[in-house]
Symmetry: C2
Subunit: 201 residues, 2 copies
């Protein structure tokens, strides 16, 4: 026995959501059908509208339903610094940490030749034009500290070399509030080689 075809199809469709396996999909489908049809209907509408209207910001490529995102539209940011991130979630994390006042550029992924994701797919042609034309003085390569993120940062660095901009990468080291015991070897090695004079702040 299984559920009716339409209920089964709903469970199947819910599995497009990340981290949702068969059991969770079943729980979600039954919850929506048995307990929260209004919420389900609202989700259908909002998801439909969002998929139709949310696109990329013309300047930084972050997700937005406007031509320009609020951050790009703001006059109060420093145009001379450009921070390149892999996703809008990374951008949000940096904004929430506070302190950074420059602009952003969102790749929506990283280079991955095996998956057929090349420079154009992550907007590197647009990034180069922006750096060439918009008076950018420093590009902070804030891609993820993973093999793919590193490779992408290296590729961008090589691409932008001729444009005479300063290139930087986020510092590596032990995370604040963590315990050394649980920090992996690669990070510890980086933290040692990048050690700073003690200033007793």
């Amino acid at each position: 026995m299984s559920f009716s075809p339409l209920v089964e199809k709903l469970m199947e469709s819910l599995r497009v959501l990340p981290g949702v396996g068969p059991k969770t999909a079943q729980r979600m489908a039954l919850h929506l059908l048995e307990r929260d049809r209004d919420g389900g209907r609202r989700l259908t509408e909002v998801l439909g509208t969002a998929l139709e209207r949310v696109g990329y910001c013309e300047r930084c490529r972050t997700l937005t339903e406007e031509p320009l995102c609020t951050l790009c539209a703001s006059a109060r940011r420093d145009d001379s610094v450009l921070c390149v991130v892999e996703s809008p979630a990374d951008q949000l994390a940096i904004e929430e940490a506070g302190g950074y006042r420059g602009r952003y550029f969102v790749l929506h992924g990283h280079l991955s030749p095996l998956d057929g994701i090349g420079p154009e797919d992550i907007g590197l042609d647009q990034l180069e034009t922006r750096v060439a034309e918009d008076g950018v003085e420093e590009v902070i390569l804030a891609t993820n500290p993973t093999v793919e993120g590193e490779a992408t940062a290296h590729y961008i660095a090589a691409q932008l070399e001729t444009h005479g901009v300063r290139l930087s990468r986020l510092a590596y080291g032990v995370p604040m509030g963590g315990e050394l015991e649980y920090v992996d070897g690669g990070t510890l090695t980086r933290a040692f080689s990048g050690r700073l004079p003690f200033r007793g702040e």
Copy 2:
């Protein structure tokens, strides 16, 4: 900073799904918008159709888009036994265990006076009619072994008393494959008081 209004609204809407908090909703929204718009569109369609068309089976109240579910429509089930469960998921679990060949009745919940859920909300009037008219000889009360499930079973038992049907409840005891060490006291007590003659099968 936050995401654009429409993206924020999508995150909010995704939180109707059970077990989805702000962080998971964010991950889901970005996944759909950045990586799987086709899957998202399919989800919108299927969810919309399911919410519109899936209703309750006229006989057993399980979820189905047909007037009768396949189980009720089947001629090969035993009409004299009726198993009352709280949800379609419970029904599926019993069917997957195999062995039961009777019919079902799905409550979609349990009695909960504090939440305003009374007998009619879980179809108990329909259950009584069915028992009175359909030649049911035994009703198996397979509501959950929780306080609410027990209370609901007791209520149904009292309601059906005058109809001269046999009433039974699932056996309580230690779960198969478990270790006694980790079984809770209430279950152990029930398993002792319900102990059976050893037959060395």
